[in-house]
């Protein structure tokens, strides 16, 4: 039933192998590439539904590969990167990647991310059918600007509502601070990540059960935010 095609760009053969096996177990069709050059060839010829990119490649920069792919490929891109390379992740996300995973990662986590991305991509175009969006106990009416939690109306300030909408539009993608600030506040505010943190805290206090252990508005430290549960 699951015939999605996935391209793995990774120079470590062992990692490529186990990821390949895990994905094949899930019924995906897997293509492997170990360099930027091969990745471009595969991406052009195999028409994958999702690309997994390791940022450290022998013949080039993963970020360049992403921005090149983004020129003609609309499918989700998932990035693999080390923990202490936050700027690299932000750059990759800003270049057009949709999500990232920190090495070392667990296979269940990887599979969950892939499914979420594929689901989001598959839905594109159908969101407009209804003006209502729901995740978990939260309901948002994009037409009337109304928000409910557990069926109770929640009052949001205009900024909070714009922020919520931006998150909803991003679906399960990781949105960098820059992307969110640009969308909600505008170009003059892209350096003021603390605005985002304060308003995100308000949003969590209004919509989360326990703001310190959020279910929906997940923090990716030093990188950005992700909406879960959509």
């Amino acid at each position: 039933m699951n015939t999605a095609r996935i391209l793995i760009v990774e120079d470590e053969a062992n990692i490529r192998r186990f990821v390949g096996i895990a994905l094949q177990d899930e019924g995906f069709q897997v293509f492997e590439a170990d360099s930027v050059k091969r990745a471009l060839i595969h991406a052009a010829s195999r028409q994958p539904d999702l690309v997994i990119v390791d940022l450290g490649l022998p013949d080039g920069d993963g970020k360049q590969l992403i921005s090149e792919l983004r020129g003609w490929l609309a499918v989700p891109i998932l990035v693999l990167s080390a923990r202490d390379r936050e700027e690299e992740k932000v750059a990759a996300l800003d270049a057009g990647a949709d999500d990232y995973l920190t090495k070392p990662f667990g296979v269940p986590e990887l599979l969950a991310r892939i499914r979420a991305q594929l689901r989001r991509h598959g839905q594109t175009g159908s969101v407009a059918a209804t003006s209502k969006v729901a995740f978990g106990e939260i309901e948002v009416d994009l037409a009337t600007h109304e928000v409910w939690r557990k069926g109770q109306p929640v009052h949001l300030t205009p900024i909070e509502y714009r922020l919520l909408c931006a998150m909803v539009r991003g679906q399960s993608r990781v949105l960098t601070h820059r992307q969110l600030l640009l969308e909600v506040w505008g170009l003059d505010y892209v350096d003021r990540a603390h605005y985002l943190r304060v308003h995100m805290a308000h949003l969590r206090q209004k919509l989360e059960e326990d703001p310190a252990q959020p279910q929906y508005f997940i923090t990716e430290l030093q990188v950005g935010y992700r909406l879960m549960g959509l």
Partner: protein, 883 residues
């Protein structure tokens, strides 16, 4: 264009004023109680004011107050804190003196120092009390003092002229003029005389003596007028300064500049004093010069002029000596060069016998009528002859005259021989040649002597009648006159040539020694080489014994270089700390043998040069002084250069080290993470394929161990990064809630079997932290809690803000035993526990928190469990301008 410029304040002047104000702000303020006479009540006025200040709670210390046995004074001193006097032995007498060091140490807000003009007993740090006061002011202590008008340096002559008594203790005018406040204490002469009669001023027979000599009504009136007038001058100056500061619209006239020429005789000192007063009245800069020519009366005159120049620079003048044969021309050239619009000269009455001689001022007014001249009366004060040490007799001076005489006699002998062949007229030439040679070899004096002697010899030995000074043929008188004239003129010319050659040679010597020093110093790469070059050059050029003291890392100076002069480390230290010259020939510790000079480089003082000159008066010569200063600044710059080379090298080494460490860390982290990723991923992937049973168990084990190894590696890498000096934190204003959330999310698996409870204050402000590192701290604490507490227990995270900090607490309900060295690397609660992981996590947590300026502590709970409390400084979060 010029009109535009005129209206604008001179930027240099403004800058100078700003600098003055900056300095003034740091310095203490000087208040002078100024009176015309002893007994007018200056000390009393000062003490009364001090009592008022003390009543208002100000910290006032009576540093030194002379009561002179007067009861009124002693009463007012009562209740003030008094500084004990320093006791010093001087000869057989034990003398007491103001204790400068104790006052500096005590550092009160105000210190009372009576009698500013007092001379300290020999062996004190400064010869004069006003210098002590300067040091107190530099240390930022306010000083109140008293002063009588006759002690002002520039009024010294005037006062001694009025009252007929010369005052030896003087205070430079700049001390008075730069005082923050001058309080005039005035008493009409009749009242003062009454007080004297009542015995309130002097006690016993001293009173009678004083009233006969000093306290005559005429004197008192004159002194009173002087005091009031001098204060009025000061007020006038202040007024003008104020006006200048306040109104920029008023015209800014070009600053006056006076050029003062001193001749090197007894009238100079008075000339300089008068010029100082004039310059102050005109608010003019002034330059005092001496033209050193061969026509002067040699070294004695030169030394006298140099002494006067030193005095002038004490008064605040720029000084210089000019080489030149023609005094008038040299002065005019100097005036043009410095844009001086007035020339101040002493009047030198023409001597009757030198009827042809025009005075310098006459010549200038004749040739350069456009230059204003002020000619001061000569007025040598007879009771104080100019004190000039006799120049050391030039060795061989008498010998030179001997040689000159001998040459003449030898010439006579040769002439006697030649006369057998040649005519007498030709023989005269031989004498002329002798005079020229003598003048060339021995200078002016012997030249003149030889000219006279030659004429006499010629007369005695060769003119009929021979061997007698009588002359029969009157024609020969003409020959004698001509011969003497020619001999004198040629002798003079030759001597001048010789002098100029010598001046040129001296200039050459300066230029070469500077050039050589520059070359040697530029080749020197280490401090040792520099000190070696310095010791060699300075001892050669200045004929002195030289020592060099350089600072160590703790700013303590030590003598360096082999063969250096033995020096007093404490004086060298003082010089280094204060940046002022000390020791011989200076105002500070002048009893010391050597002269201690600070080596001032652009950034700071780089060391101390100690000179023990063979001729100590040599440094009074401005030219020598300038040469010394040039050499010293070269030396200082060389030292600074080496210092910065060292700094640069160290930085480079450090940077290289850091770069390598970073590369190494990056490589290790990549090489360790890749196999771990594979290990964890492969175990995960294999798990669904394995049948339930031992294989599945084994895969679980691999997965678990690899995951805990991963955490260990992260800790190790972080620890290595935190070990570096000057860790750069990526600080931003973060929400603590997000960091806690992120940490809990990372630990979902290990924490799955525990109850996690969070209670974070919703009004928590943002904190300025490196989020990833603080997350690391939480991950470690929570991971520890998960490891060391039984499943099912509660782990809680709480946070609240206090006035200046944010407190984060991680608690568990585990066994809660805390060894003292919990935060040391590789310490754990239990020895050889089955739970994996070395105790690196807590050490890392401590290091991270401390790098943020916070602290972490572990408290065992009352019954069970552990509480880890992290306190982070709160700071001021950025403003959130509303949109």
């Amino acid at each position: 264009m010029p009109a535009l410029n005129d209206a604008r304040p001179d930027p240099d002047a403004l800058l100078a004023r700003v600098q003055q104000e900056e300095q003034a702000a740091l310095r203490g303020k000087l208040r002078i109680y100024f009176g015309s006479n002893a007994g007018v009540g200056k000390t009393c006025a000062m003490l009364e004011a001090a009592q008022r200040e003390v009543a208002q709670g100000r910290d006032v210390l009576a540093g030194v107050v002379e009561t002179h046995g007067r009861t009124e004074t002693a009463e007012r001193l009562h209740g003030l804190e008094q500084l004990p006097r320093a006791h010093r032995l001087h000869g057989e007498f034990a003398l007491t003196e103001f204790d400068l060091d104790a006052a500096l140490l005590r550092h009160p807000a105000v210190v009372l120092v009576d009698e500013l003009a007092h001379s300290n007993i020999p062996g004190s740090r400064h010869p004069k009390r006003w210098q002590d006061v300067e040091e107190l002011l530099s240390a930022g202590i306010d000083v109140w003092t008293t002063l009588n008008v006759q002690h002002l340096e520039s009024l010294n002559d005037l006062v001694s002229g009025i009252i007929g008594i010369r005052v030896r203790e003087t205070v430079p005018d700049h001390v008075f003029d730069n005082a923050h406040e001058v309080v005039v204490v005035d008493l009409p002469p009749d009242d003062l005389l009454q007080r004297l009669k009542d015995g309130k001023v002097y006690l016993g027979p001293a009173a009678a003596r004083a009233s006969q000599h000093f306290f005559r009504k005429g004197n008192l009136l004159a002194l009173r007028e002087l005091a009031l007038r001098r204060t009025a001058d000061r007020v006038d100056t202040q007024m003008r300064v104020y006006r200048r500061e306040q109104s920029i619209k008023t015209l800014w006239p070009a600053r006056e500049r006076l050029l003062v020429g001193v001749a090197g005789d007894a009238g100079d000192e008075r000339l300089v004093r008068e010029a100082a007063r004039l310059a102050q009245k005109l608010e003019a800069d002034w330059i005092v010069v001496h033209v050193a020519s061969a026509q002067g009366r040699g070294a004695r005159r030169y030394l006298s002029a140099i002494k006067t120049l030193a005095l002038a620079s004490e008064f605040g003048a720029d000084t210089a000596t000019l080489p030149g044969m023609d005094v008038a021309q040299a002065l005019v050239a100097c005036a043009r060069e410095h844009n001086a619009n007035r020339l101040v000269l002493g009047h030198h009455p023409r001597q009757a016998w030198r009827f042809w001689h025009q005075s310098v001022s006459d010549r200038i007014s004749h040739h350069h009528p456009q230059i204003d001249q002020i000619v001061m009366a000569h007025g040598v004060v007879p009771d104080r002859p100019l004190i000039v040490e006799k120049p050391a007799p030039v060795p061989g001076r008498a010998l030179a005259y001997g040689w000159a005489s001998l040459a003449c006699f030898a010439a006579s002998a040769v002439a006697a021989l030649l006369l057998q062949v040649f005519d007498l007229a030709n023989v005269v030439m031989l004498f002329l040649l002798t005079v020229v040679l003598v003048a060339l070899r021995y200078g002016r004096g012997p030249g003149v002597w030889a000219a006279m002697l030659a004429v006499l010899c010629f007369d005695f030995f060769f003119v009929q009648p021979r061997y007698s000074f009588t002359v029969t043929d009157t024609q020969y008188f003409f020959t004698f006159a001509l011969m003497l004239g020619i001999a004198l003129i040629t002798g003079q010319l030759t001597a001048r040539l010789r002098h100029e050659a010598r001046t040129a040679a001296a200039r050459e010597r300066r230029a070469t020694s500077l050039a050589r020093l520059a070359r040697d110093l530029s080749a020197a790469l280490t401090v040792e080489q520099i000190s070696e070059v310095a010791l060699r050059t300075f001892s050669g050029v200045f004929e002195a014994r030289v020592g060099l003291a350089l600072p160590d890392a703790a700013d303590g100076v030590h003598s360096v270089g082999a063969g250096g002069l033995p020096m007093d480390d404490s004086i060298a230290q003082w010089t280094y700390d204060h940046g002022h010259a000390a020791g011989h020939g200076t105002d500070t510790l002048s009893a010391a043998k050597g002269c201690y000079l600070p080596l001032k480089a652009p950034m700071r003082v780089r060391g101390v040069l100690v000179l023990e000159l063979a001729q100590s008066e040599r440094l009074n010569d401005p030219q020598e002084r300038r040469l010394l200063e040039a050499c010293m600044s070269q030396l200082a710059i060389a030292l600074e250069r080496v210092h910065f080379v060292e700094v640069a090298q160290n930085t480079l080494v450090q940077m290289e080290g850091e770069k390598m460490r970073n590369t190494l860390l990056a490589a290790i982290s990549h090489d360790l993470r890749t196999p771990l990723t594979t290990l964890i991923g492969a175990a995960d992937t294999a798990l669904p394929h394995a049948p339930p049973g031992p294989l599945r168990e084994l895969l679980h084990g691999i997965h678990e161990q690899a995951t805990s190894m991963q955490r260990l590696i992260e800790n190790l890498l972080d620890m290595a990064r935190m070990q570096e000096r000057g860790v750069r934190l990526n600080r931003q204003w973060h929400s603590l809630e997000e960091i806690v959330g992120s940490a809990l999310r990372q630990l979902r698996e290990p924490l799955a079997r525990h109850q996690v409870h969070t209670s974070l204050d919703t009004r928590l402000p943002l904190v300025d932290v490196d989020a990833l590192l603080i997350e690391r701290v939480l991950v470690n604490l929570l991971d520890n809690a998960a490891k060391y507490t039984p499943p099912g227990t509660t782990i809680s995270v709480a946070a609240h803000a206090t006035s200046d900090s944010i407190v984060l607490m991680v608690s568990d309900t585990g066994p809660g035993r805390a060894p003292a060295n919990l935060f040391e690397p590789f310490a754990r609660g239990q020895q050889e526990s089955s739970v994996t992981g070395i105790g690196l996590g807590l050490a890392l947590a401590k290091r991270i928190v401390e790098a943020h300026g916070g602290r972490i502590e572990a408290n065992p709970g009352r019954t069970c469990g552990m509480h880890f409390i992290i306190t982070l400084p709160a700071g001021t979060p950025p403003s959130m301008e509303s949109l």
